[in-house]
Symmetry: C2
Subunit: 624 residues, 2 copies
């Protein structure tokens, strides 16, 4: 490749908390061109630097923050950040995305990535201001919730424009369902907050003034114009999605009968969903937040206006949280969900995993399998008990400690068949799509390299009926393996280019890869084609799979919760549906074949070679 002329700075900041050192390193140009940024750059660095068998909560694990060549430019929807680490919840590679303003501010420090390694002797935070890197005591912030941490830290630094990524009590207490928060946004899922906590790292604060160079300013501006034009023409984006945010999906999934309720015993079609759809939440609308340079501004700030939660506001709740802190718990009070969402954000608890853990506890309680709750009545619908339980999980207090590391471990700890009620794949709690009624989601949950993760291969075809790449029948098994691969590679492109996936899903799908290629080309001056962008997604998925394969993962781990394979959906438009082991096997076979992987889910050397990640071939299990 020729050298890049813009987009990247070509710099990586390595911070070692054990010996409190830091240094800036050049990133090899070939690596940049092949892995571009975000998820893939993070995965490449993690693959090379974190050996198999590493304890995710040990000093040898690393936290890798990575942005991309268009982060911090004028490109819309590009203020995205990827965090890569080894997940203490799943044992897989973990990759979390977040928007807001932290990503651009990080980029403006002149860095494409930050690697945090080691473990500090006492609580610290990392402060990066352009070229100045400091590791400072965070003793006085330790224990503070995520919002207060940001407020006090800005105040102490006397710079309120600093952007902060931090953990709350849940991450400090090493809860494996903790997340990392910047502003009101989460680097969520997979227990990444605990990794930060295990390093005694309270926060990373960034402030930059460096302009991102653009190789071809004229071209870049034109692509942005085109991007905005397509976005403006999408009927789904404006005025719908822009005004509802992801709560939009409640109407779709509940109408189709795959909006899960009461720990997936139910679909909530009748009694819950009508109280939780976007029209209902619109009544709680207060204002909207946007990520840097985002014309959509899908993030709805909502507030409880009357009653016991009055005055509590949150940025959200997103669709997934309406499920996890609402329908999963048999709760239909939007004001409660707003309050619980805010509480989770403040505690630094992942809302999906935390809610699903509460749901599991409620079902176990009602079934008499787990009742040692110190008098807390953990019945479905009990709001007060939920708030108490959430807080207790964040602090690993009393009996809640059992659930504070996720449902899989809770099932193992409790025994007595409790594991059947753990709604997780590879340890990661399920997002809000009942895969029995949306099969491509099922393949994705089973195979995504991070566990049951809707963001790694979202099947918008099944939710919104988008006929791309082709019209899809959501209950059909056949073709879903191929579709899941398509979706995963499609989503992967955005995780690599650090573009928000929403616009692509909502209206840009037909032109998204072309626009992405043009934006990357315009920014960097290197050549990216539509096909090349597709390959970015595929490369990411194979590289991450290889990380997991190296850790011992294979077909045996590509599974679904037993409930979904044994109990059919009870009512609604997906009534009677389930995914039997046979169905899953069929879809996995198809998926592996489409991927060029063997029957055991192991990538072929040829595929790895084709994708230019031939240095991972040595890690293939012998005999594969």
């Amino acid at each position: 490749m020729k050298n890049f002329a813009g987009g990247w700075f070509g710099k990586l900041l390595r911070i070692n908390l054990t010996d409190r050192t830091s240094r800036v390193e050049e990133i090899d140009h070939t690596v940049l061109y092949k892995f571009v940024g975000g998820a893939a750059l993070g995965a490449k660095l993690l693959y090379d630097e974190v050996s198999p068998g590493t304890d995710p909560l040990g000093p040898e694990n690393k936290l890798i923050y990575a942005v991309g060549p268009i982060t911090g430019t004028d490109a819309p929807c590009a203020s995205r950040l990827n965090l890569t680490t080894k997940s203490p919840l799943t044992g897989t590679l973990a990759n979390s995305l977040s928007g807001g303003f932290f990503p651009v501010e990080m980029k403006w420090t002149g860095l494409d990535a930050i690697i945090i390694e080691g473990k500090a002797a006492e609580p610290v935070y990392v402060l990066v201001r352009d070229n100045k890197v400091e590791i400072k005591s965070a003793v006085k912030y330790w224990g503070l919730n995520t919002q207060d941490t940001q407020t006090y830290l800005k105040e102490d630094l006397d710079d309120h424009n600093i952007r902060i990524s931090c953990i709350g009590p849940a991450g400090e207490n090493l809860s494996l369902i903790s997340c990392i928060i910047n502003e009101c946004r989460a680097l969520g899922r997979k227990g990444v907050g605990a990794v930060m906590g295990s390093k005694n790292l309270k926060a990373i604060a960034v402030r930059g003034t460096k302009k991102v160079p653009i190789a071809n300013q004229k071209k870049f501006k034109e692509i942005i114009k085109e991007f905005l034009k397509y976005l403006g023409e999408s009927e789904l984006v404006y005025p719908v999605f822009s005004k509802t945010g992801s709560s939009l999906a409640v109407g779709a999934t509940s109408a189709l009968g795959f909006f899960p309720a009461k720990n997936w015993q139910d679909t909530g079609v009748e009694d819950l969903a009508p109280h939780l759809d976007s029209n209902v939440f619109a009544q709680y609308g207060q204002t909207r937040n946007r990520c840097y340079r985002c014309p959509v501004a899908c993030s709805q700030v909502r507030m409880a206006k009357t009653g016991r939660y009055a005055g509590i506001s949150t940025e959200g709740p997103e669709y997934e949280t309406i499920y996890s802190l609402g329908s999963v718990l048999g709760i239909k009070d939007p004001a409660f969900i707003i309050a619980a969402d805010r509480l989770c954000d403040e505690l630094g608890l992942d809302t999906i995993s935390a809610g699903v853990a509460v749901g599991m506890a409620m079902e176990l309680y009602e079934r008499g399998i787990f009742t040692a709750t110190d008098g807390l009545e953990l019945k479905f619908g009990n709001q007060e008990a939920t708030l108490t339980f959430l807080r207790m999980m964040a602090y690993k207090e009393g009996f809640a400690k059992i659930f504070a590391d996720g449902t899989k471990r809770a099932g193992q700890a409790i025994g007595n068949g409790a594991g059947y009620y753990a709604m997780e794949v590879k340890g990661l709690e399920l997002p809000a799509y009942d895969v029995r009624g949306a099969k491509a989601h099922g393949v994705n949950y089973a195979t995504a390299y991070t566990g049951a993760d809707h963001n790694r291969g979202y099947a918008s075809q099944e939710v919104f009926g988008i006929p791309i790449p082709y019209p899809v029948e959501r209950l059909e098994i056949k073709g879903k393996g191929v579709l899941a691969k398509w979706n995963q590679d499609f989503c992967g492109c955005y995780d690599v280019a650090t573009l928000c996936e929403f616009p692509a899903q909502m209206g840009l799908m037909p032109v998204a890869q072309k626009l992405t290629a043009d934006l990357l080309s315009g920014a960097t001056g290197c050549e990216f084609t539509e096909q090349g962008v597709w390959q970015l997604g595929e490369r990411l998925n194979n590289l991450c799979r290889m990380f997991n394969v190296r850790e011992g993962f294979s077909r045996k781990d590509d599974c679904l919760p037993r409930r979904l394979m044994e109990e059919p959906i009870k009512d609604g438009l997906s009534k009677g549906e389930m995914i039997s082991q046979q169905d899953l096997d069929f879809m996995l076979d198809e998926y592996y074949e489409a991927r060029g992987w063997d029957k055991n889910g192991i990538p072929s050397a040829a595929k790895l070679q084709e994708l230019g990640i031939e240095d991972t071939i040595k890690d293939l299990p012998s005999g594969s």
Copy 2:
């Protein structure tokens, strides 16, 4: 006087919310020299612009923000702001002070004062950035708590260094015990939040870049050095007060037996105070905040570390709040007080008035006088009920509405002798000094122009034994009228000069007026003497008294709650003490005489003349 050469900008910004206009006006030099800034400049403007009989919640009332000539300079402890308005709680002139960073930021816009008048048709906020003044819709912020309002507003303005003074739900709902919050600080007491709410004004945001000119830079720097030297030498300031903040006073007042408990039925010496003193609160210490250019940084950020309030932090609680949300309610759990303090700040409830209102409700509930609480068990010590009740007051929900406008109105509404349990003077709830054991505080509560207001004439002689102006016996009646006048004028100087009162009380007392005079002279280039500074305090007290006199106030209103005049203190070092009507009359006579006022508490024309506020003479009641 000669024209000023620094300190003041000589500018006032007048904003009319009714017709959405604004204009900058010159402030007459004579007015500036005579009233200087802060409380006196505010009182002068209010006196001239708000006629007697004005409805405090009507559009004719005005909110006047005033700073002074040393605000925003390098002078330490000078980031103070005064808000003057007519109080809807007391009907008197209201004056509230706050520190932090808003005061300096306001000054840097190039203004000495901002007057808000009229009433907006729908919620608005005022944005002042140097010379640019905007009145903008606040519809989307209406309902948000004070912390979220600041966060979202900064985010929307994409300027996190903007400083915001705002109301929460309590002010919006016109609760007469609401306050105005900037950062975590309050313009408290007297229902000033309701005045802001009545104008449909959610917030004032300021951002300035103008340097305050200093007339005599060299002299000014020397005085600052001297100020810091004296401060550094004070044993009370360092290391004690700096590390404890005002919680320091719990030990003193409880040891002397005048730390009130359980709605003033008790002194809390035995069962409460030992759990609430500064050593206990130190265990909750997290970090410290400072106002701009304050070397003391008395503001302790404390956090509950375990239990149900874990992770909740607050800037405080200050001594008064330890009383009002602790001992007054029979509560000795510091974690609860931290949580309740935070809740009040977020709701925009004045912590003293709100806590004392809860205390009254609890006593009425226990005595069976008021039990219609919809099942809420309002017994002393009930934490959960307190949190619910506080929230309900802010929203004027249900039965709590009766208490949401303060204890005086609650007593009137409930009848049946309930008023006896309203611990207030002129409608303002009592601060944390049981005046039965500290008589000068009693005279001050009875006579301060804002009602029972410890800040208007703090008798540190009785709390800390400071022998200035002379050694004082706290239980003695004789001399306390004279002392109260001295204290009121002493405190008044700081409210006018916009210097924090704490350093003066804690160690600078002997040299405070001289230093203040020198700072004012150095900044402005006008001549201020020690005697002149004393006169600033006296002028303020007389001008404000005249505002009240014009509203019909006189000796009849200079009273104390009946309980304090009929029930002796039950135990501790002040056991048996009370202030009989005879005692109070004696002290009032002495006080009025010291003030040059007649037996009815009306200033003499001669005194008004002497103080240069002869234009108020026309407002003296006929026959006085």
